[in-house]
């Protein structure tokens, strides 16, 4: 009886904890909905998706913010994807054992650097470098933001991609080498394609990290609400959704239209991140169903 009671207590405890974390996500989502949806009712869609963001004058064009986030995130992924996958391949396949022992923890330490520190580094070191070497009017650009974000998403991409490579059975490598392929050919033609879905997941997770990052982005992208449509926009300032929310939430009167619009931006951001994570989950699921690799 007492064992059964204990069993029941432990089981319920775990159930409460597990459900509460899901419950909190749902509550947060409903809170976002409750605070964000009025924006769509109070602000005409033509205004909400226009190109001018001057909230103190009731101009709530969120397009430059959405595009800004997309430009910065894609830049970050464009830089972090080759770098991250190459690092993962090196750590997993090429580096000798002792180097792997040193590199892996060091990469994990990277993830622990506070984003303000990276932002400050970007502002004082990267920005002048970008301005002088690329001839941009200012160093606070989408590209600088992309560089900082790439650095921030690298640890995620490397460790997940490395796990994916690790999951490729040794027999694949042996088979490749036995067929007369060089080590590089084995890596590039056999191991990496076999780990492809894991690598896609790594990139998706890195992307989720990049699009949600706030502090560092706010410090290095310049926060100008211009439409990043021309080719040189990459080397001009942009303003992201996260930076806008962080910079303006302190000011707004609770319940005002501006307040609801900021939550609406949060809602849009939530949906984008949700879709990215869903895509990541879908690739993992496909991988499972194919049944090949763990």
């Amino acid at each position: 009886m007492s064992t059964r009671w204990k069993e029941f207590a432990v089981e319920s405890m775990i159930r409460v904890l597990g459900l509460s974390s899901i419950g909190f996500v749902i509550l947060i989502f409903f809170f976002l909905l409750k605070e964000g949806v009025p924006a769509f009712l109070q602000v005409a869609p033509g205004n909400l998706f226009s190109t001018r963001w001057y909230p103190i004058f009731d101009l709530y064009g969120t397009l430059p913010l959405i595009l800004g986030s997309i430009v910065v995130t894609l830049t970050a992924i464009g830089i972090a994807l080759p770098l991250g996958v190459a690092t993962a391949v090196f750590v997993r396949e090429v580096a000798p054992g002792w180097a792997r022992e040193v590199l892996k923890p060091m990469i994990e330490v990277l993830a622990g650097i506070p984003s303000v520190v990276l932002g400050f580094f970007g502002m004082t070191v990267l920005a002048p470098l970008v301005r002088e070497t690329l001839g941009a009017p200012t160093g606070l650009t989408a590209f600088t933001g992309g560089l900082v974000l790439a650095y921030m998403s690298l640890p995620t991409i490397i460790s997940v991609a490395e796990d994916a490579l690790d999951a490729v059975p040794k027999s694949y490598r042996d088979a490749g080498l036995a067929m007369g392929a060089t080590q590089w050919q084995t890596i590039w033609r056999v191991v990496v394609p076999a780990a492809r879905s894991g690598i896609v997941t790594a990139v998706m997770l890195g992307m989720g990290r990049a699009i949600g990052e706030t502090m560092a982005v706010m410090m290095v992208t310049g926060n100008a609400t211009r439409m990043p449509l021309t080719l040189d926009s990459l080397f001009r300032p942009v303003r992201t959704m996260t930076a806008t929310i962080a910079a303006e939430m302190g000011e707004v009167a609770q319940g005002s239209t501006h307040y609801h619009v900021l939550f609406a931006i949060g809602l849009i951001l939530f949906l984008i991140t949700f879709l990215i994570n869903l895509a990541a989950a879908a690739t993992i699921f496909k991988k499972r169903r194919r049944g090949g690799l763990r």
Partner: protein
Amino acid sequence: MGKHRIVGNGLRTVGWVLLVLAAGALGLWAGCTLQPPPEGQETAEATYIIENKGSDTLVNLALAWAEAYMQLHPEVRISVTGGGSGTGIAAMINGTVDIANASREMKPEEIAAAEANGIHPVEFTVAMDAIAVVVHPSNPVDRLTLEQISDIYTGRITNWSQVGGEDRPIVLLSRESNSGTYLYFLEHVIRLGGEESDLLFSPDTLLMPSSEGISTEVRQNPNAIGYDGLGYVTPEQKVIAVALGPEGPYVLPSVETVNDGTYPIARALYMYTAGEPSGAIRAYLDWILTEGQALVPELGFVPLAVESSAD
């Protein structure tokens, strides 16, 4: 079978309720034991804690006041934080701070929100401030009219050669829109004080989250133009002389020019309290308005004209 299930469910519900109760009790217990032990020294004498929050322009001055006042009155503890005028006022309305620092007057909707909360904000003018327009030290431009500054910030002038400088693009720096400095600059410089004007900052304007952000970029970038409170201008930035019209006179901001009204971009700084202050808060504000004014020039601001004439 059906009956069993109902019983089972009932038992389960009881279990859940018990569990929730247990969790609540645990929380209560933790709350009790985790409470920090009172620091003996402070409870010995009556301690007043004054929470002071708001304008980033005012934060250094408010800190200097707080430090000086706490030395004179050890029984009073004052904590000062920045965050922007709007942040401070919102905190005052929500009752989390005693004094809100603001570099602008409260907006009508903020006053309405305060009244709705049953709070009548009381305004104190505590110092004067001038907004300095700054550029990189290597920039040959050293004087601009208000209208030129307005044209620069609205994007009608985009190259330094149009105002007598080198052939370089102009990079516009501004404070975030939650800064009182932003609104003041918009209304008095960009719109030249015109009520019906609907000019706005150019979309290319970089909104910097802090004064530090502006000074870092101005120090590094020869293309940049920025503005900020005179108290935040460091020697590495070059201050522009400003005139109302093209015929001059071009005036550099200084304690004298702000006080005699010749520098065109100057404003008052405020502290707001929730209701007419009393006790320790009253005493602190009285001190700020009298002896405290001596600290104001040391931080690059301008003391109140009334006080300076009384000296």
